[in-house]
């Protein structure tokens, strides 16, 4: 690790980050406004509701990330969880040889 730079990089400056976030929010607002200005061709009915795609994107994203976060404590193990297993299974026959 080298010394931290005196001047933060472009994407670490607060104004840049805030501009980017504002840009995303602005685009989202524009896309929501666009709902009034194009002809929908729903296949199922519900996909023609106002704001269906924006809502689907937002809710689906939150659902995935948050449910994965909930699942993490169940699934996560130490990094060498399997390495130990592998080492043991490599050593098992050797141990047996010495025992018998």
């Amino acid at each position: 690790m080298t010394q931290p730079q005196t001047r933060p990089g472009v994407f670490e400056r607060k104004p840049v980050i805030q501009t980017l976030i504002a840009l995303i929010a602005l685009i989202c607002a524009g896309l929501l406004a666009a709902e009034f200005f194009y002809a929908k061709h729903p296949h199922f009915g519900f996909d023609g509701w106002f704001g269906f795609y924006p809502l689907a994107g937002f809710v689906a994203y939150c659902f995935i990330v948050l449910s994965a976060k909930l699942a993490r404590p169940l699934l996560r193990r130490d990094e060498d969880y399997y390495d130990e297993q592998a080492r043991q299974s490599l050593q098992t026959p050797i141990e047996d040889d010495t025992h018998e």
Binding site: M1, T2, P4, Q5, P8, G9, F11, E12, I21, I24, A25, I27, C28, L31, L32, A34, Y38, A39, K40, H41, H43, F44, D47, Y53, P54, L55, A56, G57, F58, A60, Y61, C62, F63, I64, V65, L66, S67, A68, K69, A71, R72, L74, L75, R76, R77, D78, E79, Y81, Y82, D83, Q85, A86, Q88, S89, L90, T92
Partner: protein, 567 residues
């Protein structure tokens, strides 16, 4: 048509395999030229062949069709050969003969398999892909890679054996080895379906992908990500188009790897989960089975090989320079590797299916086909999965490696050949997205489809931008799960932990039983020995000397008893 065209020996697959053999003998400085010219020559040869069946030869009493060029096989062989060229360029700097030989042989086997017109030829090349590809893992030359490679090979060979058994049963039932539509109605068809399912990484059969791919070499992982799974997708499209079960299987495949991708720390493993999820879209397309859906599956496989390859290339470049691709360790690399970062973002935009990028013009065909055929559950699953793709491949991979907080790595930009390979692949991703007509022209079916309608572009942008907004909200509020070190349990736990543990338990049990038995027998033997010694030993009853008076008494007693009994 020239005389030599169409002979089994003039196959693009054999060109690659012969090239692999020659590279094993050529001096190092020729490898680079060879890695690029061989795939180019094979591609030229493929496109010289008119549609039709060639390369007939007899083997084991079967009449094989080693070369079948039609819409379906040609697009797959084409993208395999383009990918072979790009990965050759990417691996140009690698000073390892083994990897170059394995890469070309593997590509040759995969091309041979998609061009196979019969099940026997398919089986031969199917196994060849397994054997050639494992060397890309073993080329890491570590104990871990050795173990992972063995595990990978076992699973690949099981798939091959299922294919062989299925083909034999199919041959006995139908008298034909032709590789056409098979269906699930026959036992042979079911076995072959399982064989394809393993290589296509169906849910619960999937974990070899995430286990093995991230353990291969820098260029090996890129190469592995291209062929095996897409060969299986091709095989499903050939043998099981329109099989309803595939819609369900594919829909599950699009969803469940996402959760693992979100919490995985190794970014090459994140991409392996993401690969799995992209295969799901293709499997749904094959399950729907209409010309539009099959075109969608083929086009998506084509685009997917490029953008997934590009993402693996960028993470490979990071691994090559930094030495790790763990999200928890990385950050701020855009300063050191700006070009790699830019190419990675192109790959991310493509896989997320932003308009003007390749994923948009291909994935939309499958979604449209699902909607037109009223599969609303599969359609919703794919919609949710699309938001998930934006997270793990669209945001997580570039954000945590190139941006986020600066982890302090000051490394050099990727080598020139890697940059050229990434640049060319990125150009193709954008090219397909901006101008999809040439790709649509080589699809298996003639279908009139235009992705750039106002509705479609607006809806897709709404979905993606609001998902991106959700990331901003979750990340700023601290709800986004942090990147932490660790491994996540998946189905491989069954054969990496549970099965060995069960084996050890059984071993211990049997040993204890054996020890108990031996102890018991020894005790028994001790008792018997003691009893025998008492009776017949030197001081035993039988060995004692007796006086003649006592013997006389006994003889008299016996005679008296004798008399008494017969009286």
């Amino acid at each position: 048509m020239s005389d030599w065209l169409g002979h089994a020996l003039a196959s693009p697959a054999l060109v690659l395999m012969l090239g692999a053999l020659l590279i094993a003998a050529l001096p190092r400085w020729l490898h680079g030229v060879w890695l690029l010219t061989i795939p180019a020559a094979a591609l030229a040869l493929l496109w010289q062949l008119p549609m039709g069946e060639y390369g007939q030869l007899s083997l084991f009493g079967f009449d094989l069709t080693t070369l079948r060029v039609d819409g379906l096989s040609r697009i797959w062989a084409t993208i395999f050969l383009i990918a072979a060229f790009l990965t050759g360029l990417y691996a140009l700097h690698v000073n390892d003969r083994l990897q170059h030989v394995a890469a070309l042989a593997y590509a040759g086997a995969a091309v041979g398999a998609v061009l196979a017109g019969d099940l026997v030829t398919l089986f031969i090349f199917w196994e060849a892909t397994a054997i050639a590809s494992v060397f890309l893992i073993w080329a890491q030359r570590t104990i871990k890679a050795h173990i992972v490679g063995l595990r990978y090979l076992v699973i690949q060979v099981i798939s091959g054996l299922l294919l062989m058994m299925g083909a034999i049963i199919h041959y006995h039932a139908t008298g034909s080895i032709a590789f056409n539509h098979l269906g699930l109605a026959t036992p042979g068809g079911l076995l072959i379906f399982a064989a394809f399912g393993i290589k296509a990484a169906f849910p619960l059969l999937h974990n070899w992908v995430q286990d093995a791919y991230p353990e291969a070499t820098v260029s090996g992982t890129v190469i592995l990500s291209i062929y095996t799974t897409k060969l299986a997708i091709y095989s499903l499209a050939r043998g099981y188009a329109g099989t309803e079960a595939l819609i369900t299987i594919g829909a599950i495949m699009t969803i469940f790897p996402i959760f693992f991708a979100v919490i995985e720390n190794d970014l090459r493993r994140v991409l392996a989960y993401s690969l799995n999820n992209q295969l799901g879209f293709m499997v749904v397309g094959i399950g729907i089975g209409t010309p539009l859906a099959l075109n969608g599956a083929a086009a998506h496989a084509f685009a997917h090989i490029l953008y997934k390859g590009l993402l693996f290339m960028s993470m490979g470049a990071v691994l090559y320079r930094v030495g790790t691709v763990k999200a928890s360790e990385l950050g701020g690399l855009y300063k050191s590797m700006p070009w790699t970062a830019a190419f990675c973002i192109v790959g991310s935009m493509s896989i997320s299916a932003f308009p003007l990028f390749s994923g948009f013009v291909t994935k939309s065909m499958i979604l449209t086909a699902a909607a037109e055929n009223h599969h609303w559950i599969a359609w919703m699953a794919m919609l949710v999965a699309s938001a998930g793709v934006l997270d793990h491949s669209g945001i997580k991979v570039p954000f945590f490696s190139f941006f986020h907080h600066d982890a302090g790595f000051r490394v050099r930009e990727a080598p020139l050949n890697m940059l050229l390979a990434m640049g060319a692949t990125a150009a193709l991703c954008i090219g397909i997205g901006v101008y999809p007509a040439p790709l649509y022209a080589i699809l298996p079916f003639d279908v009139d489809y235009s992705p750039y309608t106002t509705t479609h572009v607006v809806n897709q942008l709404q979905l993606l931008m609001f998902a991106a907004l959700a990331f901003v909200v979750l990340f700023r509020s601290g709800l986004y799960p942090p990147e932490v070190r660790g491994v996540n349990l998946d189905t491989d736990w069954l054969y990496r932990a549970a099965l060995p543990a069960a084996g050890r338990a059984i071993h211990r049990g049997v040993s204890a039983l054996r020890a108990g038995l031996v102890r018991g027998l020894a005790q028994l033997a001790g008792v018997a020995q003691h009893w025998l010694t008492e009776g017949f030993g030197t001081n035993g009853v039988a060995a004692r000397t007796w006086t003649s008076g006592v013997m006389l008494l006994w003889v008299t007693a016996l005679l008296a008893a004798y008399l008494l009994i017969y009286y």
